[in-house]
Protein backbone atom coordinates (compact mmCIF):
# COMPACT_ATOMS: atom_id res chain seq x y z
CA UNK A 1 0.00 0.00 0.00
CA UNK A 2 2.73 2.38 1.01
CA UNK A 3 4.70 1.33 -2.03
CA UNK A 4 1.75 2.07 -4.30
CA UNK A 5 1.35 5.49 -2.80
CA UNK A 6 5.04 6.18 -3.17
CA UNK A 7 4.84 4.97 -6.77
CA UNK A 8 1.95 7.26 -7.56
CA UNK A 9 3.69 10.18 -5.95
CA UNK A 10 6.79 9.44 -7.94
CA UNK A 11 4.71 9.30 -11.13
CA UNK A 12 3.07 12.60 -10.29
CA UNK A 13 6.43 14.21 -9.74
CA UNK A 14 7.76 12.79 -12.98
CA UNK A 15 4.79 14.13 -14.91
CA UNK A 16 5.09 17.48 -13.15
CA UNK A 17 8.76 17.64 -13.94
CA UNK A 18 8.12 16.75 -17.55
CA UNK A 19 5.48 19.45 -17.92
CA UNK A 20 7.71 22.02 -16.27
CA UNK A 21 10.62 21.08 -18.52
CA UNK A 22 8.39 21.31 -21.58
CA UNK A 23 7.05 24.67 -20.46
CA UNK A 24 10.55 25.98 -19.89
CA UNK A 25 11.59 24.62 -23.24
CA UNK A 26 8.70 26.40 -24.88
CA UNK A 27 9.68 29.55 -23.04
CA UNK A 28 13.24 29.18 -24.24
CA UNK A 29 12.31 28.71 -27.86
CA UNK A 30 13.70 31.34 -30.23
CA UNK A 31 11.22 33.63 -31.92
CA UNK A 32 11.68 31.89 -35.24
CA UNK A 33 10.29 28.69 -33.73
CA UNK A 34 7.93 30.20 -31.16
CA UNK A 35 5.78 32.15 -33.59
CA UNK A 36 5.15 29.27 -36.01
CA UNK A 37 4.21 27.01 -33.10
CA UNK A 38 1.76 29.54 -31.67
CA UNK A 39 0.38 30.31 -35.11
CA UNK A 40 -0.12 26.63 -35.82
CA UNK A 41 -2.12 26.17 -32.62
CA UNK A 42 -4.24 29.26 -33.32
CA UNK A 43 -5.03 28.10 -36.81
CA UNK A 44 -5.96 24.55 -35.89
CA UNK A 45 -7.66 23.46 -32.70
CA UNK A 46 -7.73 26.93 -31.17
CA UNK A 47 -9.44 28.52 -34.16
CA UNK A 48 -12.95 28.39 -32.63
CA UNK A 49 -11.74 30.00 -29.42
CA UNK A 50 -9.88 32.68 -31.33
CA UNK A 51 -13.02 33.37 -33.34
CA UNK A 52 -15.07 33.64 -30.15
CA UNK A 53 -12.59 36.05 -28.64
CA UNK A 54 -12.47 38.13 -31.79
CA UNK A 55 -16.23 38.45 -31.90
CA UNK A 56 -16.40 39.33 -28.24
CA UNK A 57 -13.82 42.04 -28.60
CA UNK A 58 -15.61 43.36 -31.64
CA UNK A 59 -18.84 43.42 -29.65
CA UNK A 60 -17.11 45.30 -26.87
CA UNK A 61 -15.73 47.82 -29.33
CA UNK A 62 -19.21 48.26 -30.73
CA UNK A 63 -20.60 48.86 -27.28
CA UNK A 64 -17.87 51.34 -26.45
CA UNK A 65 -18.29 53.21 -29.71
CA UNK A 66 -22.08 53.13 -29.72
CA UNK A 67 -22.43 56.55 -28.13
CA UNK A 68 -19.82 58.12 -30.37
CA UNK A 69 -21.36 56.55 -33.44
CA UNK A 70 -24.81 57.68 -32.38
CA UNK A 71 -23.47 61.19 -32.00
CA UNK A 72 -21.98 60.98 -35.48
CA UNK A 73 -25.25 59.68 -36.89
CA UNK A 74 -27.13 62.49 -35.18
CA UNK A 75 -24.73 65.05 -36.59
CA UNK A 76 -25.06 63.57 -40.06
CA UNK A 77 -28.84 63.57 -39.79
CA UNK A 78 -28.79 67.19 -38.70
CA UNK A 79 -26.51 68.10 -41.56
CA UNK A 80 -28.70 66.19 -43.97
CA UNK A 81 -31.70 68.14 -42.75
CA UNK A 82 -29.81 71.39 -43.25
CA UNK A 83 -28.52 70.33 -46.63
CA UNK A 84 -31.87 70.80 -48.32
CA UNK A 85 -32.29 74.36 -47.15
CA UNK A 86 -28.64 75.10 -47.91
CA UNK A 87 -29.05 73.78 -51.42
CA UNK A 88 -32.14 75.91 -51.88
CA UNK A 89 -30.37 78.97 -50.55
CA UNK A 90 -27.37 78.22 -52.72
CA UNK A 91 -29.60 77.94 -55.74
CA UNK A 92 -31.33 81.22 -54.92
CA UNK A 93 -28.03 83.01 -54.43
CA UNK A 94 -26.71 81.57 -57.67
CA UNK A 95 -29.76 82.86 -59.48
CA UNK A 96 -29.34 86.25 -57.83
CA UNK A 97 -25.76 86.38 -59.03
CA UNK A 98 -26.89 85.39 -62.50
CA UNK A 99 -29.55 88.08 -62.51
CA UNK A 100 -27.01 90.64 -61.32
CA UNK A 101 -24.62 89.73 -64.09
CA UNK A 102 -27.38 90.15 -66.65
CA UNK A 103 -28.56 93.45 -65.20
CA UNK A 104 -24.94 94.66 -65.03
CA UNK A 105 -25.77 97.88 -63.21
CA UNK A 106 -28.54 99.88 -61.62
CA UNK A 107 -29.66 97.41 -58.98
CA UNK A 108 -29.31 97.12 -55.23
CA UNK A 109 -29.03 93.64 -53.76
CA UNK A 110 -30.80 93.39 -50.46
CA UNK A 111 -32.30 91.03 -47.95
CA UNK A 112 -36.04 90.72 -47.46
CA UNK A 113 -37.09 90.49 -43.81
CA UNK A 114 -40.48 88.90 -43.39
CA UNK A 115 -42.97 89.83 -40.72
CA UNK A 116 -43.81 87.49 -37.89
CA UNK A 117 -47.53 87.45 -38.41
CA UNK A 118 -49.30 84.39 -39.71
CA UNK A 119 -50.00 84.78 -43.43
CA UNK A 120 -48.60 88.28 -43.23
CA UNK A 121 -47.02 87.90 -46.65
CA UNK A 122 -48.11 91.16 -48.17
CA UNK A 123 -45.20 93.36 -47.13
CA UNK A 124 -41.52 92.93 -46.36
CA UNK A 125 -38.78 95.04 -44.88
CA UNK A 126 -35.75 95.47 -47.12
CA UNK A 127 -32.33 95.97 -45.66
CA UNK A 128 -31.39 98.77 -48.06
CA UNK A 129 -32.63 102.34 -47.86
CA UNK A 130 -32.20 105.71 -49.47
CA UNK A 131 -28.50 105.81 -48.66
CA UNK A 132 -28.08 102.85 -50.97
CA UNK A 133 -30.06 104.57 -53.71
CA UNK A 134 -33.50 103.17 -53.05
CA UNK A 135 -36.39 105.48 -53.88
CA UNK A 136 -40.13 105.13 -53.58
CA UNK A 137 -41.83 103.02 -56.25
CA UNK A 138 -38.59 101.25 -57.06
CA UNK A 139 -39.37 97.77 -58.41
CA UNK A 140 -38.32 94.81 -56.32
CA UNK A 141 -37.41 91.75 -58.34
CA UNK A 142 -36.07 88.25 -57.85
CA UNK A 143 -34.36 85.97 -60.35
CA UNK A 144 -37.71 84.35 -61.04
CA UNK A 145 -39.51 87.59 -61.68
CA UNK A 146 -41.62 90.25 -60.06
CA UNK A 147 -41.73 90.56 -56.27
CA UNK A 148 -43.20 93.92 -55.38
CA UNK A 149 -42.55 97.62 -55.17
CA UNK A 150 -40.99 99.90 -52.58
CA UNK A 151 -43.59 102.07 -50.89
CA UNK A 152 -41.66 103.57 -47.97
CA UNK A 153 -38.00 104.46 -47.81
CA UNK A 154 -35.86 105.09 -44.76
CA UNK A 155 -32.18 105.95 -44.81
CA UNK A 156 -31.06 102.45 -43.95
CA UNK A 157 -34.04 100.28 -44.83
CA UNK A 158 -37.19 100.37 -46.84
CA UNK A 159 -40.65 98.87 -46.86
CA UNK A 160 -41.93 97.02 -49.89
CA UNK A 161 -45.39 96.00 -50.95
CA UNK A 162 -45.42 92.46 -52.33
CA UNK A 163 -47.60 91.48 -55.26
CA UNK A 164 -49.86 89.72 -52.75
CA UNK A 165 -50.92 93.09 -51.33
CA UNK A 166 -54.56 93.96 -52.16
CA UNK A 167 -53.51 97.36 -53.50
CA UNK A 168 -50.84 96.02 -55.80
CA UNK A 169 -51.38 96.31 -59.55
CA UNK A 170 -49.11 95.86 -62.51
CA UNK A 171 -49.80 96.17 -66.21
CA UNK A 172 -49.14 92.81 -67.83
CA UNK A 173 -49.06 91.24 -71.22
CA UNK A 174 -48.16 88.07 -73.05
CA UNK A 175 -44.59 88.05 -74.39
CA UNK A 176 -45.77 88.30 -77.99
CA UNK A 177 -47.89 91.33 -77.14
CA UNK A 178 -51.20 89.82 -78.21
CA UNK A 179 -52.89 90.06 -74.83
CA UNK A 180 -52.77 92.80 -72.25
CA UNK A 181 -54.31 93.13 -68.83
CA UNK A 182 -53.87 94.17 -65.25
CA UNK A 183 -52.34 91.69 -62.82
CA UNK A 184 -53.28 91.72 -59.18
CA UNK A 185 -53.43 89.32 -56.28
CA UNK A 186 -56.16 86.70 -56.37
CA UNK A 187 -57.96 87.46 -53.12
CA UNK A 188 -60.41 84.72 -52.32
CA UNK A 189 -59.73 84.19 -48.65
CA UNK A 190 -58.92 80.58 -49.21
CA UNK A 191 -55.78 78.93 -47.97
CA UNK A 192 -53.93 79.19 -51.26
CA UNK A 193 -55.84 81.94 -52.98
CA UNK A 194 -53.52 84.62 -51.73
CA UNK A 195 -50.64 83.07 -53.60
CA UNK A 196 -52.24 83.28 -57.03
CA UNK A 197 -52.55 86.17 -59.42
CA UNK A 198 -55.47 87.36 -61.49
CA UNK A 199 -54.92 88.82 -64.92
CA UNK A 200 -57.92 91.01 -65.51
CA UNK A 201 -59.14 93.03 -68.44
CA UNK A 202 -57.74 90.82 -71.17
CA UNK A 203 -59.57 91.58 -74.40
CA UNK A 204 -62.09 88.93 -75.29
CA UNK A 205 -60.46 88.24 -78.63
CA UNK A 206 -57.17 87.42 -76.97
CA UNK A 207 -57.00 83.90 -75.59
CA UNK A 208 -54.18 82.58 -73.48
CA UNK A 209 -53.34 78.91 -73.19
CA UNK A 210 -52.46 77.35 -69.86
CA UNK A 211 -48.73 77.57 -69.30
CA UNK A 212 -48.30 80.83 -71.17
CA UNK A 213 -45.91 83.25 -69.51
CA UNK A 214 -47.17 86.68 -68.54
CA UNK A 215 -44.72 89.54 -68.19
CA UNK A 216 -44.93 93.17 -67.22
CA UNK A 217 -45.86 95.43 -70.11
CA UNK A 218 -43.92 98.49 -69.07
CA UNK A 219 -46.96 100.71 -69.09
CA UNK A 220 -47.46 102.95 -66.10
CA UNK A 221 -43.88 103.99 -65.58
CA UNK A 222 -43.23 101.90 -62.50
CA UNK A 223 -42.41 98.53 -63.93
CA UNK A 224 -40.11 98.00 -66.85
CA UNK A 225 -41.22 95.79 -69.68
CA UNK A 226 -40.55 92.07 -69.69
CA UNK A 227 -40.36 91.07 -66.03
CA UNK A 228 -42.04 87.67 -65.55
CA UNK A 229 -45.17 87.81 -63.44
CA UNK A 230 -46.49 84.28 -63.70
CA UNK A 231 -47.87 81.60 -65.93
CA UNK A 232 -51.46 81.06 -66.95
CA UNK A 233 -53.29 78.34 -65.05
CA UNK A 234 -56.82 78.68 -66.38
CA UNK A 235 -59.45 81.17 -67.40
CA UNK A 236 -61.71 82.35 -64.65
CA UNK A 237 -65.45 82.68 -65.10
CA UNK A 238 -66.50 86.21 -64.36
CA UNK A 239 -69.56 88.29 -64.96
CA UNK A 240 -67.69 90.57 -67.31
CA UNK A 241 -68.68 89.78 -70.84
CA UNK A 242 -66.29 92.07 -72.63
CA UNK A 243 -63.03 90.87 -71.18
CA UNK A 244 -61.39 87.71 -69.95
CA UNK A 245 -59.83 87.06 -66.59
CA UNK A 246 -57.09 84.51 -66.15
CA UNK A 247 -55.67 82.88 -63.07
CA UNK A 248 -51.88 82.91 -62.96
CA UNK A 249 -49.39 80.92 -61.00
CA UNK A 250 -46.94 83.53 -59.70
CA UNK A 251 -43.34 83.44 -60.81
CA UNK A 252 -42.24 84.29 -57.27
CA UNK A 253 -43.65 82.77 -54.12
CA UNK A 254 -43.62 85.53 -51.52
CA UNK A 255 -42.83 83.17 -48.68
CA UNK A 256 -39.62 82.12 -50.46
CA UNK A 257 -38.34 85.63 -50.97
CA UNK A 258 -35.17 86.25 -48.98
CA UNK A 259 -32.60 87.74 -51.35
CA UNK A 260 -33.99 90.27 -53.80
CA UNK A 261 -32.88 93.18 -55.92
CA UNK A 262 -34.19 96.70 -56.01
CA UNK A 263 -34.04 98.37 -59.39
CA UNK A 264 -32.93 101.97 -59.33
CA UNK A 265 -35.08 104.48 -61.15
CA UNK A 266 -32.30 105.47 -63.53
CA UNK A 267 -31.96 101.84 -64.58
CA UNK A 268 -35.58 101.53 -65.64
CA UNK A 269 -35.18 103.85 -68.59
CA UNK A 270 -32.36 101.79 -70.06
CA UNK A 271 -34.46 98.74 -70.79
CA UNK A 272 -34.07 95.12 -69.81
CA UNK A 273 -33.40 93.42 -73.07
CA UNK A 274 -31.95 89.97 -72.52
CA UNK A 275 -32.38 89.93 -68.75
CA UNK A 276 -35.42 87.67 -68.71
CA UNK A 277 -35.23 86.88 -72.37
CA UNK A 278 -34.38 83.26 -71.71
CA UNK A 279 -37.65 82.67 -69.96
CA UNK A 280 -39.62 84.26 -72.73
CA UNK A 281 -37.69 82.40 -75.38
CA UNK A 282 -38.25 79.13 -73.64
CA UNK A 283 -41.96 79.83 -73.46
CA UNK A 284 -42.15 80.77 -77.10
CA UNK A 285 -40.13 77.74 -78.08
CA UNK A 286 -42.48 75.57 -76.08
CA UNK A 287 -45.46 77.08 -77.85
CA UNK A 288 -43.79 76.48 -81.22
CA UNK A 289 -43.08 72.87 -80.30
CA UNK A 290 -46.72 72.37 -79.33
CA UNK A 291 -47.92 73.88 -82.61
CA UNK A 292 -45.44 71.79 -84.60
CA UNK A 293 -46.62 68.70 -82.76
CA UNK A 294 -50.22 69.49 -83.73
CA UNK A 295 -49.26 69.92 -87.39
CA UNK A 296 -47.29 66.68 -87.39
CA UNK A 297 -50.23 64.82 -85.87
CA UNK A 298 -52.57 66.26 -88.47
CA UNK A 299 -50.25 65.25 -91.30
CA UNK A 300 -49.93 61.75 -89.88
CA UNK A 301 -53.72 61.41 -89.70
CA UNK A 302 -54.05 62.47 -93.31
CA UNK A 303 -51.39 60.00 -94.41
CA UNK A 304 -53.07 57.20 -92.55
CA UNK A 305 -56.42 58.03 -94.16
CA UNK A 306 -54.84 57.97 -97.61
CA UNK A 307 -53.23 54.62 -96.92
CA UNK A 308 -56.57 53.17 -95.79
CA UNK A 309 -58.24 54.43 -98.88
CA UNK A 310 -55.55 52.86 -101.07
CA UNK A 311 -56.03 49.51 -99.36
CA UNK A 312 -59.77 49.67 -99.92
CA UNK A 313 -59.18 50.47 -103.59
CA UNK A 314 -56.95 47.45 -103.96
CA UNK A 315 -59.53 45.19 -102.35
CA UNK A 316 -62.26 46.53 -104.58
CA UNK A 317 -60.09 46.07 -107.68
CA UNK A 318 -59.20 42.53 -106.67
CA UNK A 319 -62.92 41.74 -106.34
CA UNK A 320 -63.45 42.89 -109.87
CA UNK A 321 -65.16 46.07 -108.91
CA UNK A 322 -64.35 49.65 -109.47
CA UNK A 323 -61.93 51.10 -107.02
CA UNK A 324 -62.87 53.93 -104.75
CA UNK A 325 -60.31 56.21 -106.22
CA UNK A 326 -59.49 57.04 -109.75
CA UNK A 327 -55.85 56.15 -109.46
CA UNK A 328 -54.41 52.69 -109.01
CA UNK A 329 -53.71 51.70 -105.47
CA UNK A 330 -50.09 51.13 -106.37
CA UNK A 331 -49.91 54.70 -107.48
CA UNK A 332 -51.81 56.07 -104.54
CA UNK A 333 -50.07 59.04 -102.98
CA UNK A 334 -48.64 58.70 -99.49
CA UNK A 335 -50.52 61.76 -98.37
CA UNK A 336 -53.88 63.11 -99.33
CA UNK A 337 -53.80 65.00 -102.61
CA UNK A 338 -54.26 68.69 -102.27
CA UNK A 339 -56.37 69.05 -105.43
CA UNK A 340 -59.82 67.47 -105.57
CA UNK A 341 -59.83 64.11 -107.30
CA UNK A 342 -62.64 62.90 -109.43
CA UNK A 343 -63.55 59.36 -108.43
CA UNK A 344 -65.61 56.59 -109.90
CA UNK A 345 -68.47 55.27 -107.84
CA UNK A 346 -67.62 52.05 -106.02
CA UNK A 347 -69.42 48.84 -106.78
CA UNK A 348 -69.00 47.35 -103.36
CA UNK A 349 -71.02 49.51 -101.02
CA UNK A 350 -70.05 47.40 -98.05
CA UNK A 351 -66.44 48.33 -98.58
CA UNK A 352 -67.48 51.91 -98.64
CA UNK A 353 -69.36 51.47 -95.45
CA UNK A 354 -66.24 50.09 -93.79
CA UNK A 355 -64.33 53.29 -94.34
CA UNK A 356 -63.56 54.99 -91.09
CA UNK A 357 -64.18 58.50 -90.07
CA UNK A 358 -60.76 59.71 -91.06
CA UNK A 359 -61.23 58.46 -94.55
CA UNK A 360 -64.57 60.14 -94.78
CA UNK A 361 -63.07 63.36 -93.54
CA UNK A 362 -60.37 63.17 -96.12
CA UNK A 363 -62.84 62.42 -98.86
CA UNK A 364 -65.03 65.28 -97.76
CA UNK A 365 -62.06 67.58 -97.73
CA UNK A 366 -61.17 66.42 -101.26
CA UNK A 367 -64.76 66.91 -102.49
CA UNK A 368 -64.93 63.28 -103.53
CA UNK A 369 -68.30 62.61 -101.97
CA UNK A 370 -70.04 64.98 -104.32
CA UNK A 371 -68.60 63.12 -107.31
CA UNK A 372 -69.18 59.60 -106.09
CA UNK A 373 -72.78 59.86 -104.94
CA UNK A 374 -74.33 59.85 -108.45
CA UNK A 375 -72.51 56.60 -109.28
CA UNK A 376 -73.91 54.71 -106.33
CA UNK A 377 -76.04 51.79 -107.52
CA UNK A 378 -79.68 52.56 -107.26
CA UNK A 379 -79.11 56.21 -106.73
CA UNK A 380 -81.02 58.69 -108.88
CA UNK A 381 -78.85 60.55 -111.18
Amino acid sequence: MARAIRSNTRLDLIVLSTCIVLALAARALPNTMRDPAATGMRRTFLAPLVMLQERSERGRQSLLQADAKQAIVDSLSLNAMKAGSLEGENDRLRKIIGLGSRLRWGFIPTEALHGRGVRDETTVILSAGSRAGVSRLSPVIAPEGLVGVVDQVDPTMSHAMLWTHPDFRVSAMSPDGTAFGIAQAHLTGSATGGYLIELRGVPFRATLKPGAVIVSSGWGGVWPRGIPIGTVLEEMKTSEGWARTYLLRPAVNPSDVYSVMILRRDRLAKGFDGVWQNTTQVDQATQRIIVSGDSAARAAALAEAAARRAVLDSIARANGGVPLGVTDSAKAPAVAPKAPVRRVAPVDTAARARRDTSARDTIRRDSVRRDTIPHRPGAAR
Partner: protein, 162 residues
Protein backbone atom coordinates in the same frame (compact mmCIF):
# COMPACT_ATOMS: atom_id res chain seq x y z
CA UNK B 1 -15.88 9.85 -9.87
CA UNK B 2 -18.41 8.01 -12.00
CA UNK B 3 -19.06 8.58 -15.69
CA UNK B 4 -21.94 10.99 -15.16
CA UNK B 5 -19.90 13.07 -12.80
CA UNK B 6 -17.00 13.08 -15.23
CA UNK B 7 -19.20 14.24 -18.10
CA UNK B 8 -20.68 17.01 -15.99
CA UNK B 9 -17.22 18.06 -14.90
CA UNK B 10 -16.05 18.16 -18.51
CA UNK B 11 -19.08 20.23 -19.49
CA UNK B 12 -18.40 22.64 -16.65
CA UNK B 13 -14.78 22.82 -17.68
CA UNK B 14 -15.72 23.65 -21.28
CA UNK B 15 -18.20 26.27 -20.12
CA UNK B 16 -15.46 28.01 -18.17
CA UNK B 17 -13.11 27.86 -21.12
CA UNK B 18 -15.73 29.34 -23.43
CA UNK B 19 -16.51 32.06 -20.90
CA UNK B 20 -12.84 32.94 -20.83
CA UNK B 21 -12.89 33.73 -24.53
CA UNK B 22 -16.29 35.40 -24.65
CA UNK B 23 -17.28 37.13 -21.44
CA UNK B 24 -13.80 38.22 -20.42
CA UNK B 25 -12.95 40.15 -23.63
CA UNK B 26 -16.48 41.51 -23.72
CA UNK B 27 -16.11 43.06 -20.28
CA UNK B 28 -12.53 44.19 -20.88
CA UNK B 29 -11.80 45.07 -17.26
CA UNK B 30 -8.40 46.26 -16.16
CA UNK B 31 -8.39 43.53 -13.48
CA UNK B 32 -10.08 40.73 -15.37
CA UNK B 33 -11.37 37.45 -14.04
CA UNK B 34 -9.55 34.35 -15.21
CA UNK B 35 -11.94 31.57 -16.16
CA UNK B 36 -9.09 29.31 -17.27
CA UNK B 37 -7.69 29.28 -13.75
CA UNK B 38 -11.17 28.56 -12.41
CA UNK B 39 -11.56 25.71 -14.87
CA UNK B 40 -8.17 24.36 -13.92
CA UNK B 41 -8.87 24.54 -10.19
CA UNK B 42 -12.27 22.89 -10.56
CA UNK B 43 -10.71 20.13 -12.62
CA UNK B 44 -7.67 19.76 -10.41
CA UNK B 45 -9.62 18.86 -7.29
CA UNK B 46 -11.21 16.00 -9.18
CA UNK B 47 -8.12 14.36 -10.68
CA UNK B 48 -4.71 13.17 -9.68
CA UNK B 49 -1.86 15.74 -9.42
CA UNK B 50 -0.15 14.39 -12.51
CA UNK B 51 -3.35 14.72 -14.54
CA UNK B 52 -3.93 18.19 -13.13
CA UNK B 53 -0.40 19.11 -14.15
CA UNK B 54 -1.05 17.94 -17.70
CA UNK B 55 -4.37 19.81 -17.84
CA UNK B 56 -2.65 22.92 -16.56
CA UNK B 57 0.12 22.54 -19.11
CA UNK B 58 -2.38 22.25 -21.98
CA UNK B 59 -4.46 25.18 -20.74
CA UNK B 60 -1.32 27.22 -20.34
CA UNK B 61 -0.25 26.46 -23.87
CA UNK B 62 -3.70 27.45 -25.10
CA UNK B 63 -3.52 30.79 -23.36
CA UNK B 64 0.09 31.31 -24.44
CA UNK B 65 -0.69 30.68 -28.07
CA UNK B 66 -2.64 33.95 -28.13
CA UNK B 67 0.40 35.76 -26.71
CA UNK B 68 3.36 34.14 -28.46
CA UNK B 69 5.91 36.35 -26.73
CA UNK B 70 5.07 34.63 -23.44
CA UNK B 71 4.85 31.12 -24.85
CA UNK B 72 5.64 28.72 -22.05
CA UNK B 73 5.13 31.12 -19.16
CA UNK B 74 1.43 30.40 -18.88
CA UNK B 75 2.05 26.68 -19.33
CA UNK B 76 4.57 26.69 -16.51
CA UNK B 77 2.32 28.66 -14.18
CA UNK B 78 -0.74 26.58 -14.96
CA UNK B 79 1.19 23.36 -14.47
CA UNK B 80 2.34 24.40 -11.04
CA UNK B 81 -1.05 25.74 -10.01
CA UNK B 82 -2.86 22.65 -11.24
CA UNK B 83 -0.46 20.28 -9.56
CA UNK B 84 -0.56 22.29 -6.35
CA UNK B 85 -4.34 22.52 -6.30
CA UNK B 86 -4.66 18.81 -6.85
CA UNK B 87 -2.01 18.06 -4.27
CA UNK B 88 -3.64 20.29 -1.68
CA UNK B 89 -7.20 19.28 -2.46
CA UNK B 90 -7.46 17.49 0.85
CA UNK B 91 -6.94 20.82 2.52
CA UNK B 92 -9.20 22.95 0.35
CA UNK B 93 -11.74 20.53 -0.96
CA UNK B 94 -14.64 21.43 1.24
CA UNK B 95 -18.20 22.48 0.69
CA UNK B 96 -17.54 25.96 1.91
CA UNK B 97 -17.96 28.90 -0.40
CA UNK B 98 -15.62 31.13 1.55
CA UNK B 99 -12.93 28.49 1.51
CA UNK B 100 -13.47 27.94 -2.19
CA UNK B 101 -13.24 31.69 -2.76
CA UNK B 102 -9.92 31.77 -0.96
CA UNK B 103 -8.88 28.75 -3.00
CA UNK B 104 -9.68 30.58 -6.24
CA UNK B 105 -8.03 33.77 -5.03
CA UNK B 106 -4.86 31.97 -4.07
CA UNK B 107 -4.76 29.96 -7.30
CA UNK B 108 -5.14 33.02 -9.47
CA UNK B 109 -2.60 35.05 -7.53
CA UNK B 110 -0.01 32.30 -7.61
CA UNK B 111 -0.64 31.87 -11.29
CA UNK B 112 -0.08 35.59 -11.90
CA UNK B 113 3.09 35.61 -9.86
CA UNK B 114 4.53 32.67 -11.76
CA UNK B 115 3.30 33.98 -15.08
CA UNK B 116 4.65 37.52 -14.83
CA UNK B 117 7.97 36.32 -13.45
CA UNK B 118 8.24 33.74 -16.19
CA UNK B 119 7.12 36.17 -18.85
CA UNK B 120 9.94 38.59 -17.95
CA UNK B 121 8.13 41.47 -19.64
CA UNK B 122 7.60 43.63 -16.57
CA UNK B 123 10.41 44.73 -14.34
CA UNK B 124 10.91 46.73 -11.20
CA UNK B 125 8.07 48.94 -10.09
CA UNK B 126 5.77 47.84 -12.83
CA UNK B 127 6.20 44.21 -11.85
CA UNK B 128 5.58 45.03 -8.20
CA UNK B 129 2.52 47.09 -9.10
CA UNK B 130 1.21 44.26 -11.17
CA UNK B 131 1.86 41.56 -8.59
CA UNK B 132 0.74 43.53 -5.55
CA UNK B 133 -2.09 45.59 -6.96
CA UNK B 134 -3.59 44.35 -10.18
CA UNK B 135 -3.01 40.66 -9.64
CA UNK B 136 -4.73 40.62 -6.22
CA UNK B 137 -7.57 42.63 -7.67
CA UNK B 138 -7.85 40.23 -10.56
CA UNK B 139 -7.63 37.31 -8.14
CA UNK B 140 -10.40 38.81 -6.02
CA UNK B 141 -12.61 39.29 -9.05
CA UNK B 142 -11.83 35.76 -10.17
CA UNK B 143 -12.70 34.42 -6.73
CA UNK B 144 -15.96 36.32 -6.64
CA UNK B 145 -16.94 35.16 -10.10
CA UNK B 146 -15.85 31.61 -9.27
CA UNK B 147 -18.01 31.52 -6.15
CA UNK B 148 -20.92 32.93 -8.12
CA UNK B 149 -20.51 30.33 -10.81
CA UNK B 150 -20.16 27.58 -8.22
CA UNK B 151 -23.42 28.73 -6.74
CA UNK B 152 -25.12 28.85 -10.12
CA UNK B 153 -23.66 25.59 -11.38
CA UNK B 154 -24.01 23.69 -8.14
CA UNK B 155 -26.36 21.08 -9.65
CA UNK B 156 -23.80 20.43 -12.33
CA UNK B 157 -20.77 20.30 -10.08
CA UNK B 158 -22.09 18.36 -7.09
CA UNK B 159 -21.03 14.72 -6.95
CA UNK B 160 -23.72 12.22 -7.77
CA UNK B 161 -25.04 10.51 -4.59
CA UNK B 162 -24.32 6.82 -4.62
Amino acid sequence: MNVGGAIRAIISFLIFVVLHYTLRPLLGWRAPMDFLVLALLLAAVRVRPSTAAVIGFVLGLISDSLAPDALGAGALAMTVVGFGASYLKAVFFADNLVLNAFFFFLGKWVFDILYFIGEQRLHGFELLQQLLLWSPLSAAVTAAVGVLLLFIMRPLLEPTPT
